[in-house]
């Protein structure tokens, strides 16, 4: 579930929308899958023309690429566009696996990269992008769950330690609203669609432990108190019902919100670690941006916790005639490019450096965990249930919760969750 969030989030990180449209590199015949040029398809429209083209590409060509050049094509509507391209054989040589592709479909589209048991010694997050013990995709960076706050605003309301329970979280937001009436206690970024999906996805594991997603695939009523899927959506409902969110959610502005939290006009946004570097860079006060652990402590140890998970997984087009070159690029990108570090992420390459967003976590003694992979033979279960349930996990689900909570739509929290449980339960079968 979390992968969805990160993938959606990253594909929407649009500083500049720069869409390269061009022909897919035709493989000029060379021995053993080595080509003069390969095409890499990426969701990073913002840095494809800069960092990718000017730094990574030339560094690869001069290094382990041994003369092979790289052409980058970036897509804003990454998932939809690339899924459509996958109806043909031309979808680049290396690409990020779009959302909606189930693990059972991996082998129809991507080249096997090796055994998961071997690759997990070199890379993190190999529990994603795998099917039947074979790895098809490697996560380009890793993110940690948590939320972003403006430390100055929280401090001005007299709060210096992160809330430890959902109730404390709401109480703190109320304090902020009382102390600083001009500040928006929590900004949902409703209009983006993808931003509020974190409320449903990010809490996986917090109460039910690392097997959360595997339990979810079998659970007939996951929107029930005490379960991970319930925690975040319930919190969202209560925050919205208490009037602690922006006044007009329908017209939120993602690009503008980055500067607003930097300048202290927004106190909180429920987004995971990838967003920290963007908020720091969006205004004059990078030191005010802080990253807090979600307000649910581990029920067993009583400690703050954070789940780390992969981002978009990089895979090789199985129809590519440039298998060796593509493999070389993947090795370069994962091990040598420094992409994860530059994004403030957790390096998927075990020996690589992590980003620097996690200072507060270290002070609080936050325990890092990761979700368990699905048991053998069940890799596609969760994706299949999602598809069959017909629940719109694109943010419509969370928008419904917000609308109902703020009284813009008839219904109650109980009726929303009953409906979701009925749909999910029906798909579990």
């Amino acid at each position: 579930m979390r992968k969805r969030l990160f993938a959606g989030v990253v594909s929407s990180v649009l500083a500049t929308s720069f869409v390269t449209v061009g022909a897919i590199t035709s493989a000029t015949a060379a021995p053993a899958g080595i080509c003069k040029q390969i095409t890499v398809i990426t969701n990073r429209t913002d840095i494809a023309p800069t960092t990718f083209t000017k730094v990574y590409g030339p560094a690869f060509t001069a290094g382990i690429g041994k003369g092979t050049t790289v052409k980058f094509e970036a897509f804003t509507n990454y998932n939809t566009d690339v899924r459509t391209m996958m109806n043909t054989k031309n979808y680049g040589d290396v690409l990020g696996i779009p959302q909606g592709v189930t693990p059972a479909q991996f082998s129809s589209f991507f080249s096997p990269l090796g055994k998961t048991s071997d690759l997990s010694k070199v890379y993190r997050f190999t529990n994603e992008g795998t099917y039947n013990g074979i790895q098809y995709g490697l996560s380009q960076t890793g993110n940690a769950t948590g939320y972003v706050v403006n430390l100055k605003v929280w401090k001005a309301a007299g709060i210096t330690t992160p809330p430890a329970t959902p109730d404390e979280f709401i109480a703190d937001l109320k304090k902020i609203k009382a102390a600083e009436p001009d500040v928006i206690p929590l900004y949902t970024n409703y209009a983006t669609g993808w931003a509020p999906t974190g409320w449903t996805n990010m809490y996986a594991g917090y109460a039910q432990g690392p097997d959360s997603n595997n339990l979810l695939a079998k659970d007939k009523a996951p929107w029930t108190a005490g379960k991970d899927t319930f925690i975040g959506d319930d919190l969202l409902y209560r925050v919205a019902a208490a009037g602690l969110i922006e006044k007009d959610p329908t017209t939120t502005d993602w690009e503008g919100s980055k500067g607003m939290i930097n300048k202290g006009q927004i106190a909180t946004m429920m987004l995971s670690s990838w967003s920290v570097s963007q908020f720091q860079g969006a205004g004059p006060n990078p030191q005010d941006i802080g990253f807090y652990p979600l307000p649910v402590k581990d029920p067993k140890t009583g400690k703050f916790q954070s789940y780390i998970g992969g981002d978009v997984e990089q895979a090789i087009n199985k129809n590519s005639k440039c298998q060796a070159s593509a493999q070389a690029w993947l090795t370069y990108f994962m091990q040598q490019s420094g992409y994860a570090y530059s994004q403030g992420g957790i390096s998927p390459y075990i020996k690589g450096p992590n980003g620097e967003s996690y200072g507060i976590f270290d002070k609080l003694g936050v325990v890092y965990k990761s979700l368990n992979a699905a048991p053998a033979g069940h890799d596609s279960d969760l994706a299949n249930v999602k598809k069959a349930s017909g629940i719109p996990f694109d943010g419509t689900l969370e928008q419904n919760i917000i609308d109902t909570a703020r009284g813009a739509k008839s219904g109650s929290e109980a009726s929303i969750f009953a409906d979701l449980n009925a749909k999910w339960g029906g798909a579990v079968g």
Binding site: G100, G193, T250, K387, T396, D403, A408, K409
Partner: protein, 292 residues
Amino acid sequence: MFKEKTKRQFVPWLYLLLPIGLLALFTYLPVINMFWYSTTEWDGFDPHKKFVGFHNYVKIVKNPEIFHSLFNSLYYFGGAVIQISLALFLATVLSYRFRGSNIFKGFLVFPYLLNSVAVSLAFLYLYKGGGGLDLLVKHLGLGRFLTLWLGNPHIVNFSLAGVSVWRYMGLNLVLFLGAIQSINPELFEAAQLDRANRWHQFRYIILPGIKRITALSVILAVSGSIGVFEIPYIMLNGSNGTTTFVIQTLKTAFVLNQVGLASALAVTLLGIVLVVTFVQRKIFKDEGVDLV
């Protein structure tokens, strides 16, 4: 060479080859494909398309919730009634020459020439809290009527229908103006000699003279309001209760990855539009208008 008669039969088809070819390639072929997809459980990219017969249609019939989004079309239909009346009124006024009438025509038709993305974004900023409309309302001293034009669920669909009226009235206006101008001017002269006033001229000359165009406008308005898409999609992505049938179909295909079901929805929409148009033609036929 060909005989003259053969040539005469053959040449028109030669000219039509290109448009018909394009039509077949980009309209009919995709529609046929859509019918085929609607009988599968395809997700949009899997190499294998599983055939499920009429299962998708059964799903639609069993889940009447799907048709709820059709109710939102009523707002746009209401808007269309206002739009047509307004266009008719303005076209009648503008058909009499007076100073600046051409400039007015230009102003009124202009919105139709703008593309809908630009229009939607412009109105997004106008409706936004603290945006242009709020300022205007405050300046007029009507501050107590302020509301969230897009955030208030009871208002939002009216706001969107308003955008639609603003954007499409120009088209109706042009159609009506053209029709009015094609009425024989001698009729007006004769009417003036008979001392008919402006209302009589409108009632007994203009209105019957533009019957066909009016009927066409109504058909366009109805099928248009069933198929509303751009404005609610670009402005709000169908959130806050503004989802229309087309937005729902699109989301089914590209968010839920149920292309099979979405194709069945599209076929259903096609059916609805055909039925409605047929019924309308029946009604208008009684008045001696033959269209399409």
